[in-house]
């Protein structure tokens, strides 16, 4: 039963399940490194998933759907930036409100556009129809099918993880983003706007979160279903925290959560052991509590994460 095919299937399912979590998590990493707590990832993903399915269905082109999802995810996240940075609203409060709003807006538009609640019509062509096997690399045993025979957004997530790691640690803008989360006053003192850095951080999380949503609706599925994000935005937060607020750490945590998800399905199908399916769903959450407890290793948030920054400007 546990043979080569089983292992390969399990591991590539792990990658597929981890992709939306990893994308949302690395977006949240940039956001929180800039000092804004973002629990609105769930809402952003919902908006992205909905927009992707609607636009891809209307135009018949999943790529336009993907771009629209990224755009609207970013647009939606700007509400969070405006509320937290410009209006000095508590970050957790704003995120909680946006999660409510995202549900309301999508289910309202669902009835407006689709005409019924529940599920949208399937898109004619989904991104899942594009399976890009990288020549040579995809024929490596185990690793080939895992990493090099996947669908587009999975590759994008690999690229983005590298780009974000490089961006945060090697570029000047990345340094400014991190400074805005660690010591905003110091950043403002050298003449860089903390407000701008925080807007930027939130916007990045929105763009990437929109892409994660699009993955759910038009790549791993062919339509949008209400509630299809299924708490992945919160698991992404869990991955970000377990990964120590670092893109690669977040990716590894997301892989682990993806593996738990993939195992859950197989445990049910093959009845390997009589474990309730919920055990695997709970695993990421429990692991996060363990991670923040500092039992495994130190997982420290940016110093000014969630701390409001208000600069007194002289009038006139």
């Amino acid at each position: 039963m546990v043979d080569y095919d089983f292992i390969v299937n399990l591991l590539s399912a792990m990658i597929r399940n981890a992709t939306p979590i990893a994308l949302a998590a690395i977006g949240a990493v940039v956001c929180e490194r800039s000092g804004v707590v973002n629990i609105a990832m769930e809402g952003i993903m919902t908006v992205g998933a909905f927009v992707a399915a609607i636009v891809a269905g209307a135009t018949g082109n999943p790529w336009i759907g993907l771009l629209a999802a990224i755009f609207f995810g970013g647009l939606f996240s700007l509400i969070h930036a405006f509320a937290t940075v410009s209006l000095h609203l508590d970050h957790v409060v704003s995120g909680a409100v946006l999660n409510v709003l995202a549900l309301g807006i999508t289910s309202y538009l669902m009835i407006m556009i689709v005409g019924h609640p529940g599920t949208t019509n399937p898109v004619p062509v989904g991104l899942g129809d594009y399976r890009w096997a990288i020549p040579v690399l995809s024929s490596i045993p185990v690793l080939g099918p895992m990493f090099f025979n996947q669908t587009p957004i999975v590759y994008f997530s690999f690229i983005l993880i590298g780009v974000f790691t490089w961006f945060l640690s090697k570029t000047k803008l990345g340094l400014h983003v991190r400074a805005s989360g660690e010591h905003p006053l110091a950043l403002e003192t050298i003449g860089v706007s903390v407000y701008k850095m925080r807007y930027f951080g939130v916007l990045v999380s929105g763009l990437v979160g929109g892409m994660a949503g699009a993955y759910l609706s038009i790549e791993s599925n062919v339509s949008f279903t209400e509630g299809m994000t299924g708490g992945r935005g919160f698991i992404a937060m869990a991955a970000m925290i377990s990964g120590g607020w670092h893109p690669i750490g977040a990716f590894i945590a997301a892989l682990f959560f993806g593996l738990a998800d993939a195992l859950q399905v197989r445990f049910q199908v093959f009845e390997i052991a009589r474990v309730p399916e919920e055990f695997f769903i709970i695993l990421p959450y429990v692991l996060t509590v363990v991670a923040v407890a500092g039992l495994v290793r130190r997982s420290r948030p940016p110093k000014a994460d969630g701390v409001d920054f208000m600069i007194e400007r002289s009038e006139d």
């Binding site: 707590v37 309202y108 959450y285 429990v286």
Partner: protein, 437 residues
């Protein structure tokens, strides 16, 4: 002498008025909450009149004790406090109307149905919706007072509900003994779910938003396991699972038992919720425990300098918050459903956050905002059924209300901008005068 006599020694009248106000208020509340218009009865309004009368008597007593000036000051300050929430609600309703108009629905008709459904026709559903929200919102509000954000009330609610369901299935004692026991155990199980976040917060500084949120999802997914073990047979039923019915001796009394006209589903949980809200108000503002918790919430360093233990109070506040959220589970299981459903869409814990935020963390305010949320939910369903307007508009209106009320800085910013413009205009006028001369 005779004129000051009233102020210095008002005699027994104020205490009589206090009792009169309490009796009138309680009677009005019971009639108002228990009544339902579905049978065409109008005694529902008598309850409201009794509450208004109780309020008038109370204000009379206040004037007698503190003088007319103090009464006017009280009215002025409460009007100021109410201004932002009322403005937020009105603006959000107007914005929702514009959205409906823009998307081709009739806002007058829709709002008419919403308020008729929520306040008159399906008033009993509004109350049923409000009761659990008040408990979870009290939980969130109590934690707020200690400077904590109990975002995981949902999980504590599930723990309380599981405890209540298990005990109610097995307790065969008469209700008068078993109900208080179940009430307390449901609360304790809720509190148990905040022990780990409280310990971690005090010992390692782990943020309670993260720990309570993660534990909320954990409890949420533990509930189907519990339900399957207590009657939810996976062979015969899939999602949502449901337990056996609880024993009838553990049902919360219903209003119908003493008000024959009342809707049969309305139970006394809402009264318990209001009493608990008053109790929490008392604890927060009239006991040393409450004082210490509020001191820690206002300023940790100042509290520590005063010799108040910050860790102990954080621990205490989170545990009480968990207790309160657990009571919401008791309310649902023993009051309304009489079994535990795997409530996939209910989300009382998450909505409790909104209700608490809207009330600004005030325990008495929570009762009113909880009722408002209950009315909007019940009315939204009625509106969707009768006018074919998507009930999702209610979610949008709710989100907008919340945003406009919690983002108080909007009003500061608008005020600053207006003052600035005013100053500029004055400066311009002064310059014009100077140039003219």
């Amino acid at each position: 002498m005779s004129s000051t006599h009233e102020h210095t020694e008002p005699g027994r009248l104020p205490s009589i008025l206090t009792i009169a106000s309490a009796v009138l208020g309680a009677a009005g509340l019971v009639i108002w909450l228990g009544a339902s218009m579905s049978r065409g009865e109008t005694y529902y309004f008598w309850g409201i009149w009794l509450i208004v009368a109780a309020l008038a008597v109370y204000l009379w007593r206040y004037r007698l004790l503190n003088g007319g000036e103090a009464l006017r000051e009280l009215l002025r300050s409460s009007a100021r406090k109410m201004a932002v929430p009322v403005m937020g609600v009105v603006t959000a309703i107007v914005l929702g109307g514009i959205l409906m108009l823009a998307t081709g629905y009739n806002p007058i008709e829709a709002y008419g149905a919403l308020f008729f459904g929520g306040l008159v026709r399906n008033w009993h559903i509004s109350i049923l919706n409000a009761a659990p929200l008040i408990f979870t919102a009290l939980s969130v509000a109590f934690a707020f007072k200690a400077g904590l954000f109990n975002i995981g009330a949902e999980g504590q609610y599930y723990m309380g509900a599981m405890a209540a369901a298990w005990l109610s299935i097995h307790f065969t004692l008469p209700g008068i003994i078993s109900l208080p026991l179940i009430f307390i155990f449901a609360g304790l199980f809720g509190a148990m779910w905040t022990i780990i976040p409280a310990l971690l917060k005090v010992r390692t500084g782990a943020h309670e938003v993260i720990t309570t949120m993660m534990l909320a999802h954990t409890a949420r997914y533990l509930s189907p396991v519990f339900i399957r073990a207590n009657g939810g047979d996976p062979a015969t039923s899939t999602h949502p699972y449901v337990t056996w019915e609880i024993l009838p001796n553990n049902f919360l009394p219903r209003f119908q038992q003493f008000l024959p006209q009342a809707n049969y589903r309305v139970h006394t949980g809402i009264l318990i919720a209001i009493v608990v809200a008053l109790l929490i108000h008392y604890i927060l503002y009239y006991t040393s425990w409450g004082f210490e918790i509020r001191a820690v919430g206002e300023n940790k360093d100042a509290a520590r300098a005063q010799g108040i233990s910050v860790g102990k109070n954080i621990f205490r506040a989170l545990l009480i918050a968990g207790f309160l959220a657990g009571l919401a589970g008791f309310n649902q299981v023993n009051g309304l459903d009489h079994r535990l459903f795997e409530n996939l869409q209910a989300g009382y814990g998450w909505n409790g956050i909104s209700v608490a935020l809207l009330a600004g963390g005030n325990p008495i305010g929570v009762v009113f905002t909880g009722l408002l949320w209950g009315v909007l939910d019940a009315g939204g369903q009625f509106m969707a059924r009768t006018t074919q307007t998507p009930s999702a508009i209610v979610e949008i209106v709710k989100g907008t209300i919340l945003f406009l009320v919690v983002a108080r800085y909007i009003y500061t910013a608008i005020g600053n901008w207006r003052r600035k413009r005013q100053r500029h205009r004055e400066a311009d006028a002064a310059n014009a005068v100077k140039e003219g001369a």
